[in-house]
């Protein structure tokens, strides 16, 4: 490939990755506002983030919400994927389309529609409706990866187990489940990212005083530009890097992009 083309690609990569460096730079810069070039190195903003009661409450809420989303979405998404891939009933294609639609449908609309339901039905905003919103946008990611794994896995193996006398449940547990496990795990990792970083759905559904981390960061960002937000961002970047490496280990990024 030509040097000019490679140079252009290098510039585009720099465009993608420079913001990450900027965030790290501002997190370590001791100045109490956005200032470049940095005047030194300090960990004061990390200290402020980890001792801020509001940020910590938001962090734990996001973490708890993310874990609850992962467990529930992982379970119902996997069950639905198995039924949709192995079951024989009419309207399967339509159901798959419906279950996957929150991936491409702007989630600000999903959040807003749930907000309308909560208001009209007089439910108000609470943790239950927030979790429901996160489940709706996260479950499709589990469903998608598991469906893809089931499509790839060899059904003949399951049939062989059945022919050798295994019950359908046992054939599934001992043959199919181990085959789709990487897909389930990767789907759950993505469900976690979707929930932990969720902004549009949470925007409409968080109740005052019970904010998730992205919402707390956004509210902070409207009035204050100090490095606390950069420190919070670094924590979230670190989590992202761990998850990306996790997905690479689990199914390989190439597999993921093919899904």
């Amino acid at each position: 490939m030509r040097p000019a083309f490679l140079a252009a690609c290098g510039l585009i990569l720099a465009f993608l990755l420079t913001p990450v460096l900027i965030v790290i730079c501002f997190a370590l810069n001791p100045e109490p506002f956005i200032a470049f070039p940095p005047s030194g190195i300090s960990l004061r903003w990390f200290g402020k983030f980890f001792t801020s009661r509001d940020f910590m409450a938001a962090f734990w809420l996001s973490l708890g919400l993310g874990l609850a989303t992962v467990v529930i979405a992982g379970l119902i998404g996997t069950l639905a994927a198995i039924a949709l891939s192995r079951g024989r009933f009419p309207g399967r294609a339509v159901l798959v389309q419906l279950f996957l639609s929150p991936i491409v449908l702007p989630s600000i609309l999903t959040g807003f529609a749930l907000f309308q339901l909560a208001m009209v039905a007089g439910l108000g905003r609470n943790l239950g409706i927030l979790l429901a919103g996160h489940l709706v946008v996260a479950t499709p990611y589990v469903l998608r990866t598991v469906l893809a794994m089931l499509a790839q896995s060899d059904r003949a193996l399951e049939e062989a187990a059945r022919n050798l006398g295994a019950t359908p449940a046992r054939a599934f547990r001992e043959v199919t489940l181990p085959l789709i496990r990487p897909g389930v795990m990767a789907g759950m990792l993505f469900a976690f990212i979707v929930s932990f970083d969720q902004f549009p759905v949470s925007l409409f559904l968080v109740s005052p005083g019970q904010e998730t981390l992205p919402i707390a960061m956004f509210n902070y960002l409207r009035f204050d530009f100090d490095g606390t937000i950069a420190a919070a961002s670094c924590v979230s970047i670190l989590l992202a890097v761990i998850l990306v490496i996790g997905i690479e280990r689990m199914i390989g990024l190439q597999e993921y992009t093919r899904l």
Binding site: T18, F36, R86
Partner: protein, 291 residues
Amino acid sequence: MPQSEPGTTSGLTAAVMLAPAGLLFLLFFAIPFGVMAMMSLLTANPLVQPNAGFTLQHYERIAGDIFYAEVLWQTLRLGLLTTVLSLLLGYPLAFLIARARRPLTRTLLLMAVIAPMVMGLVVRTYAWLGMFSNTGVINGTLMKLGIIAEPLAILGSEAAVVVALCHIYVPFMILTLTGVIARIDPKLEEAARGMGASRIRAFLEVTLPLSAPGILAGALLVFALAISAYVTPIVIGGYEILTLPMLIFQQVSSSFNLGFAGALGVVLLIVALVLVWAYGRAMRRVAEGAV
């Protein structure tokens, strides 16, 4: 289930397994959108005021005021500019990833694309705020070098919002394009070159047309995401640039007009549904046209 074939699940078992997801989507996806559409056509909440009646007043208000047309245009314009920029920046990188020979190169490039994607909207928007603000990276560097005396007003401009939005959504473009380009046989391009076509001509007449469905799918996806952006236009655009999602949130948070906000939501939903439908069609063409 002795009568069921190996490897298939009986209807009853399938129904039981589908029930939790089905219930979730019925209660918290289908019904909410129904409520939104219903509220946009009613004068009041029927559960509170039983005499609430059918009305088109919310839609008439949108159609009657040029302001809403301008906001819709601004929203679509941002989406369009973001899509074009994402395509220009995304295609070369997608091409490089799809044609990379060593698996390690591929994986590292993919990591570079996916890592910013999982960083979160607010984090990336903050990064661009740090880049564009009056004391940020661009202005700070230019002033330090003595090129400018006063900071450039980058924040609040449409260009700044488009660049930030492009950074946030270009990974979706790259991932879509990578999959499509990887399916195009490089031998086709080599054959064209073997018959005397220049490198550029071979690309323009062979690879580019073959990747058209992927370009369309990626563009529609980025467009749908960009028109529903909320954080970035607010933080980078500083309320100078008003978009439909901002207007919807404003309606529910300050005016608390559920009916009117619902009508605005339906307008955005219709635009989004057309895009999603077109995206689905484009992706099917990708799958069918696999070389």
